[in-house]
Symmetry: C2
Subunit: 212 residues, 2 copies
Amino acid sequence: MFMGAISRDGLDIARRSREIVREKIRKVLGKDIDKYSEWEMKIIERVVHATADVEYAKLIRFKNHPIEKGIEGVKSNCPMVVDVEMVKVGIRYNNIVSFINDKKVYEIAKEEGITRAAAAMRIAKSYIHGGIVIVGNAPTALFEVVRLIEEEEVEPRLVIGVPVGFVKASESKKLLHSIDVPFITTEGPKGGTPVAVSIANGIVELSRGKMV
Amino acid sequence: MFMGAISRDGLDIARRSREIVREKIRKVLGKDIDKYSEWEMKIIERVVHATADVEYAKLIRFKNHPIEKGIEGVKSNCPMVVDVEMVKVGIRYNNIVSFINDKKVYEIAKEEGITRAAAAMRIAKSYIHGGIVIVGNAPTALFEVVRLIEEEEVEPRLVIGVPVGFVKASESKKLLHSIDVPFITTEGPKGGTPVAVSIANGIVELSRGKMV
């Protein structure tokens, strides 16, 4: 089983894609490739594979041993808190938490005048503490995660913060760099569901010693 | 309600993003912008909004009145057949069909030596006929859709064919251009779940006269 492929056709596509992806990343990163660990390269490869966008090789940032922390979390079956259902169904992990469609989220969002995505993170506080939190879409969710860490002493093992968009996404990701937490993020407006999902699945597979 | 936003914060982000997206598309397309209809521009805007990647403005192709056909389909509540669960949960529509996790799909894929994604399309044949079919990930699913159209007289109202990847995705999308079916696609390796989802949601909203 390789990236979900069970047929020879699927396996063949996945393998050839892996080779092409590696070659493209090598070209884009040049000498900078030596700055990345083997595990980091595997995560970068997954993101480029999932998006067919080699620019991500230059955009992804790792800080405070995030992959190691993520693997520890997965091995202890810690919760993964995600921002939206699309991210949830894409990750192959059995302890994923999402409150975006919770009735309470609507109420809190309306009462407090915050987005549903932010309200969903506020509700998920006790799962984020000691868990892995993954924001693939709404910058407001990532702002709320940072607030929880700074103001409410919430300590996630790992933040995968890759919201997408031209408004506030870059800012929310810059904020991550200012706090002392293990994180993986992308510079600039790019990010999104496939980026979040491929990083998370990469960590899950590394924790099982499975990723080739 | 605008792109799912219920709070002032969310609305504000969505509106400012829309303005930035329009400006970026204008710069990238230049005079070519006149080649697109108002509806096509709305779909392009959605995709660029969802991916924060303005290159899509140059990559999206519309052929044989696909938006009109899609709107007709949505108004008659025709099935939308999708390739993976991530695409399914992202689309706001109440008649979505997906066989990727069906037990039969595993069996057919193993027996016939095809991918699960292709097997899922084969099983969905009767839904694809008269329905809207959406491939956001596996090129092999799109190859199978083209085969069903060419060899088994299956007639979808619309094919949204935006698989992603460096192997076979471009080829599968080129094939679409060779058959007589309404379709929306992207040139080259780029595509994926957010592209598929934003095109589909754009058509759903246009059919309800909702999209600003």
